[in-house]
Amino acid sequence: MDEKYTLEITDLTVAYDNKPVLWDIDLNIPEGVLMAIVGPNGAGKTTLIKAIQGLVPTAAGRVLVSGKKYSENRGLVGYVPQRGSVDWDFPTSVVDVVKMGTYGTLGWFKRPGKKEENMALEALEKVGMLDFRDRQISKLSGGQQQRVFLARALVQNAEIYLMDEPFQGVDATTEKAIITILKDLRSQGKTLVVVHHDLQTVREYFDSVALLNVRIVASGKVENVFTTENLQATYGGRVKFLDQDLSQNAV
């Protein structure tokens, strides 16, 4: 194969109490794609994102980032965790949270300065949150919180972004704003892997998709892979609902 893969996942298996949550995942993600990871609840979408970054113990398998082990190339990977994974009552401001994205390049002990402040403000402007820079984070709406997380990822200046449900619980305007930014990142050659739950918008938002249900059912370009057959294989019993979806969305 001549195609260049920016993320190569081979035989990745994660188990809790000897029960596989992810089973023998082989997934090669080419550079510059905007890929959705879809699958039913409990399919292991979040676990996959975490396992790639070594946040959960893996039973087997390996992950290569631009041809090297994740631990050697972690600086290339930006992470947007689920919004609900942090305590929004933490005593800090919007711009402070965004600055945390620069901590990786700063390394241990070095403090963020003027340069990091400017990076944070620039990212806040991109996500339309500059006016909220000094706001205490507990006073943000769900959509605003998600934008802050996105801004924090932007200052990481990564090559690959792993995002866990960035559209969860946000209003339509924010969803549009976020997808615009994601497409913009793709046009800069970045690779984006996004856990997504809304099958309706997969065709509109993404160019690639991976269908996951403990195993990878299929992955590749949306037009090749996002078929009724594959969705049935992924979602099992809930095919009726899916058939309707697909006939509405048929290209």
Binding site: Y79, P91, T92, M100, G104, K110
Partner: protein, 370 residues
Amino acid sequence: MTLQFEILIIAMFVSASCAVLGSFLILRTMAMMSDAISHSVLLGIVLAFFIVSSLSSPLLIVGAGLSGLLTVVLVDVVNKKKFIKKDASIGLVFPLLFSIAIIIISKYAGNVHLDIDSVLLGELAFAPFNRFVLDGTDIGPKSLYVMITLFILNSFFIAFFYKELKITTFDKSLSSTLGFRPNFLNLFLMGMVSITCVAAFDVVGSILVIAYMIIPPATAYLLTEKLSYMIVLSVVVGILSSIAGFVLANIINANIAGSISVVCGLFFLIALFLAPENGIISNFRDRVRKKWQFSESLLLVHLSNHEGQPDYDDESRIDHLNQHMLWDMRFGEKVVNLALKNGNLLVSGQNLVLTEKGREYANEIKKDTV
């Protein structure tokens, strides 16, 4: 320095040492870990005592530190079992370790000064009697030097690892992907908590240690929205509580540690009521203000909806408001008065008329809610 003054200074340094660490304990929802550690360090002290047979050896602190870490690790191990939650696993681990220590003391160390009452309550009043003598000169109570050292250590720890502690506390997963070591830092923090607990409880007892670690930071948390301010403010609150508690103890002639704990609690209560943003009173005021504001806007929108309509005369009559808005007369009167005061309404005969300002206000609201 008089003895009294020495006691106060010691208490102040204990409170400051505890407060700098306590802020992070609270934000990591690990406040009760200080409870666990401050009790289970006793086991480390006792075991170390049996090895070195001396109560003044620094090895006792090492032993205490290790047993503190053991507590943290055990709590984690028990917590990994799905059906046991964090709070329960803390409650499972430390009474066990503490009780083992108590049994050992009562069985084998009867003639040693390891008295269980002083472990729990401490006796701050006796702290100055253990003097630090250098070259034959008395340079003050030993525990004062211990606590000053500890305060400096803790402050350096927080200052050095400020950024790292902040990100591992706020977002553990992200911090891990950025190359920081949240588990290592957590153990480091817990190690510092353990050392602080053992040094402090010898002086003030474990109850005041817990009070110092949790209450001043919790008070500061109510009063500020910035982590660095929270840490500084918790030190200030801790020191003020020490002073006020010390004075109280002298007035009512009671146990100093107990009095300080009570004052810590009082300060927290005051903050809970009076905090500018999150306080009970300001929340209550806010709710009342919003209620009136909302009622006023209901009235203005109602009038603006009927403006220019044939039924306006009927809909805007003051004495008909109770029918249209389903308000009782007195409430309606108050709302009208508020709107008059704000210049949004005028009274013309029996009717209410919107002013230009009131009309704009109503239109603004209608635009927002579409």
